[in-house]
Symmetry: C2
Subunit: 161 residues, 2 copies
DNA sequence: TTCCCTTATCTTGACGTCAAGATAACTATT
DNA sequence: AATAGTTATCTTGACGTCAAGATAAGGGAA
């Protein structure tokens, strides 16, 4: 009887006409995702980052050399709006982790590139991040992990544009 | 090859030393949870609500008669801070969906109660909400749903305080 | 060329949230 | 009673996000 079961049972008492089975599954997704992201955020905060800035630096880092992308490409990868992206870049630039250069081929565009400091930082943090993630899935055995991962992949397929 | 696979394969190229298996699972949780909550929010917006106000009204509604709880109880149920709760109550009160009465037993405390309008609204919206949730899980067959739900319940157990 | 549409980024104003601290009232101890 | 500690709620200031619109530059059709 977890927190989600309690909510579902309240609805069953108050509105027995409602089909609340889907709510069980969806409610658990919400709870788990929130817990996971809160825990991961703790690693970021330890290094002066938050989820947003980690996401930015990680996106640039894993893009490979020369560790540079346009704001548009970053927007597509991170699924945020242009206003948010401007703000994120401003902060990373102010912290000295990225530079903002004009794209000589297209004067509307910029190139956002990791600095040496940004590279060193994200390379350090991502190691600890992965350790945190290992801890967060350690409650599942190999078989459960595989089954769950396969089901999630299948489920996610429904939602891909 | 979904979006998460792409990220994982980028990390494998750039940092083959990292164990990115957990990231697959955790990444999918994030994507799915975000998609689900965005879709559910559309139902709320149609009725002049957002996820926060729906959550408040639903919590009061499923608590059963007399559909009234203290701010503290609402804070515990909805997992937000006191400042957020004050703000949420203010808005619901302004919209005429709840009233804020003094608790005669404890002058520090208040009682937040659904108005008739609030009750009628949430009873209408929750029906549509449940339909949305049915649609959101319709991509899974009975067997998959059961397996997934059981695994999520097991996984969530690890995180309950 | 000129005009129009599209693309890339930035600006502005609003929103929901939180952390920290303020205020007021209750409770237990002396 | 007086005091000290706790509890319930509100206030303030900051943050990250978004939607809508502004600005500037590119590209295609006449």
């Amino acid at each position: 009887m977890d927190h989600v079961d309690k909510i579902v049972s309240q609805w069953n008492s108050e509105r027995p006409d409602l089909n609340v089975e889907p709510m069980e599954l969806i409610g658990r997704f919400g709870r788990i995702a929130r817990y996971l992201s809160d825990e991961m955020a703790r690693t970021f905060v330890k290094h002066g980052l938050n989820s947003a800035s980690f996401d930015m630096l990680a996106t640039l880092r894993r893009a490979g050399t020369p560790y540079a992308l346009s704001p548009s490409a970053l927007m597509a990868s991170t699924m945020v709006t242009s206003g948010t992206m401007t703000n994120r870049i401003d902060q990373l630039e102010k912290a000295g982790w990225v530079t903002r250069r004009q794209n000589p081929k297209d004067k509307r565009a910029f190139i956002i590139a990791l600095t040496d400091e940004g590279f060193a930082l994200i390379d350090r943090v991502v190691g600890e991040h992965v350790e945190t993630q290992e801890r967060l899935v350690s409650g599942l055995d190999k078989e459960e992990f595989r089954t769950l991962n396969d089901l999630l992949r299948r489920y996610l397929e429904n939602f891909q544009d």
